[in-house]
Symmetry: C2
Subunit: 346 residues, 2 copies
């Protein structure tokens, strides 16, 4: 590798001057600077960030920990973060936890070794414990919160989003509305459940716990929960279903298909989080959409600005709005009226 010294020799100056020519141009005379830049160019010099960061005791890297890169939601988050980081000349280390606290712990330790400037994380259920490994480090939590006090968070308005979804079903005339919700040790699940309850309460519909099933965020969980709900005796069975995340929505819809239950004639479905799949499946799903890319981008911007502004700014918690997208998977209950005819595709 070509180093500062090489450039210095070629330009006939000391390494110190080369360093300054590159990072503090105004400190070196026009002529020398030109000569140095020329030499650097010629040798294809690229500063060694390891040495640089070591000396400066601060790197130009960030850590990003998400739970599942195969989930388009998380991939989009990652892209938002990356783009923002790149804009500010930061490089990101990406880790996947697969929702496994142990993998998260390992990732945090590895990350620690690389001395990142800050950390963006979608916290696993035990993140509160794990994050003790990296006090000192400026952190922003995305999508969910671990509940650790003093940590910045960037999330969507889950309560409001869920409420809108359920409200819509209620407006259509549904009274037995099922929900498939994620693990309650994850904040998004709790909040979406709360939105569900609030909407019911506002409409004076009593909360029926037999209609609320827990899942572990995966497709398979959604599938099983849907099967269980639809196996209830017909007077107990929900006429509409609100599913708390994208993967479980997939599972639920596929299960319904397998069971031969028609959406929305026999069961209305609303999902949380939009995706191409949701938009183009038959029938196209009515969903609560999240500004996913913005979530990632903004989280990264928040982190970076807190880095430059110093500690003075208070740990803020940002909430982005969700938007309700009406498609074809909802209709009044009982199939008495078919909601399809009134609506257009897309």
């Amino acid at each position: 590798m070509v180093s500062l010294d090489d450039v210095a020799k070629l330009a006939q100056v000391s390494p110190a001057t080369v360093s300054r020519a590159l990072s503090r141009p105004e400190m070196v005379a026009e002529a020398t600077r030109k000569r140095i830049l020329q030499a650097a160019q010629e040798l294809g010099y690229q500063p060694n960030q390891l040495a640089r960061s070591l000396r400066q005791r601060s790197s130009q890297t960030l850590g990003l920990i998400i739970t599942d890169i195969l989930n388009p939601f998380h991939a989009t988050l990652a892209k938002g973060v990356q783009d923002a980081a790149e804009k500010h000349n930061y490089t990101v280390f990406l880790f996947n936890t697969d929702e496994d606290p142990e993998k998260e712990r390992r990732a945090l330790n590895v990350l620690r070794g690389h001395q990142p400037r800050g950390l963006l994380i979608v916290p696993s259920p035990q993140a509160k414990e794990n994050l003790k490994l990296v006090t000192k480090l400026p952190i922003v939590e995305l999508d969910r919160t671990s509940g650790t006090p003093g940590i910045r968070t960037v999330m969507v308005d889950n309560v409001g989003g869920a409420r809108k979804a359920v409200q819509h079903l209620i407006d259509l005339g549904h009274r037995r509305i099922g929900m498939i919700v994620g693990r309650l040790d994850i904040s998004t699940a709790v909040e979406r459940l709360q939105g569900y309850r609030e909407a019911l309460q506002a409409a004076g519909i009593p909360y029926d716990e037999t209609l609320v099933l827990l899942g572990n965020h995966r497709e398979a969980d959604g599938r099983e929960a849907a099967k269980a709900l639809l196996s209830l005796p017909s007077d107990k069975r929900p006429t509409a279903l609100f599913v708390g995340n994208n993967e479980m929505t997939v599972g639920a819809v596929l299960a319904l298909r397998e069971m031969g239950i028609r959406i929305p004639q026999e069961l209305s479905v609303v999902g949380f989080d939009d995706s191409r799949w949701a938009a183009t499946i038959e029938p196209a799903l009515t969903v609560v959409a999240q500004p996913t890319y913005e979530l990632g981008f903004l989280a990264c911007e928040t982190l970076l600005s807190s880095l430059s502004r110093g500690q003075d700014t208070l740990p803020t918690s940002i909430r982005l709005d969700t938007s309700f997208i009406l498609r074809e998977s909802t209709a009044p209950p009982g199939g008495r009226k078919n909601g399809l005819k009134k609506r257009r595709r897309n």
Copy 2:
């Protein structure tokens, strides 16, 4: 941050001994080692990889450059790479190029600064030029090849995969088979086109260039190409369509939907690369599936083993097999027989 010196002081030994206790345990006496480990544990010591890499002139990091993390194919690739890297205690820097050679160049330069041990890359169209920036670095190309001599590649058998797809359409009785192919400066597109031609030739069907449209790998391109092909006069119009990548397949299918063309009754469709979308859309798509995760995993293993084995091993080019998955989007031409009745969903 707690450093070697801190641990050394607490354990009452020199920093050198601490270093050895951690990385070459057999060199230090049982008792001291225990004392040191204890101290390290107590302080929550994590070695500074920056300093370590600087001194050793070699890091435990890899670069991974993909073209689009939002494409599930690439996300899966990334996951495979990550998992393999993690297994060997490597950390990966992830970059996105969005197929833009300029972004690729920037990514390579940034990467260079971080002194990665090796590079995995899905090369952009101008990668051959860009990769000159990182001679010295052990490289493995994934999915495609830039054509740079002496570089290891891990790809699928695109020619064979495409041939199987087209062969299937021919077997069903199709003779006017259209293809939507990617940019021909990307190796996968060239190979898939070749497979298409080989299959036609084997069946004695003349190659008709009006049936082959180029696209830029994106959904929008697939959409436009499909529209163009289906706007041909009915005697020129294809009765079947082979689409060269996943995103363009989406575009094509959605375009057909919008045009009210029924699959497979009016047009058979085969895509390249499987996905949940392809498997669950209506009708479920017949596709050539790739071992995507394995591709990423294997590419990373290849790179790492070439790192440890030294330069002795020849630059190998690995080809993985594709598999043909028959679903519901193909049927004999002309809709004379409806292929659907014979088949079951899933």
